[in-house]
Symmetry: C2
Subunit: 152 residues, 2 copies
Amino acid sequence: VTNNPGTPLVAAPTIDEAFAAIRERGLRLSAARRLVLEALYAADRPVTAERIAAGLGDRLPRSDLASVYRNLETLEQLGLVRHVHFGHGPGLYTHAGVAQHEYVVCERCNAFVALDPAELDSIRDAVRATSGYEARFTHFPIVGLCPACRDD
Amino acid sequence: VTNNPGTPLVAAPTIDEAFAAIRERGLRLSAARRLVLEALYAADRPVTAERIAAGLGDRLPRSDLASVYRNLETLEQLGLVRHVHFGHGPGLYTHAGVAQHEYVVCERCNAFVALDPAELDSIRDAVRATSGYEARFTHFPIVGLCPACRDD
DNA sequence: TTTTTTGCAAAACCTTTGCAGTTGG
DNA sequence: CCAACTGCAAAGGTTTTGCAAAAAA
């Protein structure tokens, strides 16, 4: 099972479409795997593996952290999950059932904005003009100071 | 001893100015501490703490990893050292004896370009216009695909 | 039934911390 | 001399891996 991250089988899948995609790949929809997706769709914002394993603070059944990590990896290969790194600290995972967001994060207070890729095209253009690189802010976001922190 | 990272006592210090800055703060120029700076100035590109402790592959004496980390932190507080995170993997440290570089890194092959902050002003402007955030790419770089990797 | 997946334990990896002994000034 | 610093060892936080038992299809 290999698939490029960011290349979902289904664009912006609902949770049921995600379940179907798992079966279509010949993978099993185990309780633990379903729970990971349920947590991601319930949180609907980037969350840590730890928090998923804790059932989002016991709103859902708890599960084993190692299995959560394994399932997140599998689901990411299927394009059903993505993860992003906000500065130091653990990675944050989201379901792919939203437009493929890119992020701008505050280095100081961790406040973030999630933007549609199209909104960042002017930034991407500026990066391309300056460096020749094709920037993507889905996995590693733009880091800086939010308006509040900028003014101390 | 506290100082904002990125606020060096001396702008773009030579290694000898760095030595002097340590003494001016009442701190000691121990052998281990000198070695950290010598490694950073010898490498002249971002390197891991591990590699510093290994004497850049035995080009310099080896030293203790924990002490290297402690010294890097101290030196960073003095504004003589900075560190940057290129994707996953260990942090990379540089001396501050160059213009305060900002980085653009390839997510795939790790190739990077170090740019002077002024060169990134158009990018910073685009980020400010899009998000209101004041972007800095010194600690967390812009991540994307380099020209070679973009074309597979 | 058979292959995948789980749960637990252990390890891997990077970084920090505690502490007794050493050293720089 | 004495605070600052070191080296070593141990722990902390995040993620991965090995393996026998359990469960999905």
